[in-house]
Symmetry: C2
Subunit: 166 residues, 2 copies
C-alpha cells in the first residue's frame, strides 16, 4: 500500500487486512443482532458471556477489562449499566478490600440464553457458511496460537502509571 518501503509481503498484508475486515464486518452484524434480541451492546454481551463461563459467575473488574480488551473506566461504566439493568451485581472483593467482584445474576443468564441462538445463527451465516470443516479447524489453531502469543505480553492494565507531577 502506498509503495510500502520494500521488504513487505503481500500475503502478510492480505492476511492482516482480511482479518481486520472480517472482524469489523462480523462485529457489526453481531451488534445488530444483539441489540435487537436483547438490547445488548457487544461489550455487554462479552462481559456477560465471560461471567457466565467463570466459576461462581464472578470476576474482578481488572480481569474482565483485560479479558475483553477494554479500558478500566469504560468497564466501570458498563458494569454500572449492567447492574442497573439487574444483569450483574457488584460487591467488594473478599480477599482485597480495594477490589470489586462482578457476578452475573440469573436474569443475566436468562438474557444470555435468550440472545445466544440468534448469535450462533449470525455466526453460521456470515463466518462459517463459506468454510469447510477443515478451514475452521485451521482457523481455530492458527488464531489460537496468535492469541496465546499476544496474551503472553503484559496486559493492558499493566501500563505504567504516570507519576504525580512535582
Amino acid at each position: 500500500m502506498v509503495n510500502p518501503p520494500r521488504s513487505f509481503d503481500p500475503t502478510e498484508l492480505g492476511a492482516y487486512f482480511a482479518l481486520i475486515e472480517v472482524s469489523s464486518l462480523l462485529r457489526h452484524a453481531v451488534e445488530q443482532q444483539l441489540h435487537e434480541a436483547g438490547n445488548l451492546s457487544y461489550v455487554q454481551f462479552q462481559l456477560l458471556a465471560r461471567l457466565g463461563d467463570s466459576p461462581e459467575g464472578s470476576c474482578r473488574m481488572t480481569d474482565l477489562a483485560d479479558g475483553v480488551v477494554y479500558s478500566r473506566s469504560g468497564l466501570t461504566y458498563q458494569a454500572q449499566t449492567l447492574e442497573q439493568r439487574g444483569l450483574v451485581t457488584r460487591a467488594p472483593s473478599i480477599d482485597d478490600e480495594r477490589g470489586t467482584t462482578v457476578t452475573i445474576t440469573s436474569q443475566g443468564r436468562d438474557t444470555l440464553t435468550q440472545v445466544f441462538p440468534g448469535h450462533i445463527a449470525v455466526l453460521n451465516e456470515l463466518l462459517f457458511e463459506p468454510l469447510a470443516r477443515e478451514d475452521v479447524e485451521v482457523l481455530a489453531d492458527v488464531l489460537g496460537r496468535v492469541r496465546d502469543h499476544m496474551r503472553s505480553a503484559p496486559p493492558r492494565s499493566a501500563a505504567p502509571r504516570r507519576r504525580k507531577a512535582g
Copy 2:
C-alpha cells in the same frame, strides 16, 4: 458457554473467540503505535490507507464508510478532522452534485509513510511472529474467502431509511 443449547461446536466457538480476541488485541496495540507515531486513530489510518490505495487517491464518502465499516455520520466527523489537519481534501463529486469526493493530500501520504514502518513492526511482533509462512498463507486464503462472502451481502449503507412519520 453457559450451556449453549446443544448443536454447537467447540471448534467453531474456539475459532470465533480467537478471532475476536486477536483482532481486539491487535487493534489495541496498533492504535497505540499509530497514536505515538503520527497522532492517528485507527480509523484515520484506515481511511488514509484506503485513499492511498485508490486510483487518483480519491473515494466517495459512502464507499469509504462501507470500506472501513463505519457510520456515515462518523465518517463525516473523521473527514472533517483529517481535512483540518491537511491530510485530505473534500470536494463535491463531478458526476453527482450530492456526493463528496475525498482525496488524500501529499501531506497525507507523507503521514502514511511516516507511520507505516512502525505499523509493520507491530504486526510482525504480535501477529506474524508465532506463525509459519504456511500459516499466513492459509490465514489469508480462509479469511479472504470469508471476507468475500460477507462483502457479498448488502453493505451498511444499504440499510432501509425510515419513512418520514405520518
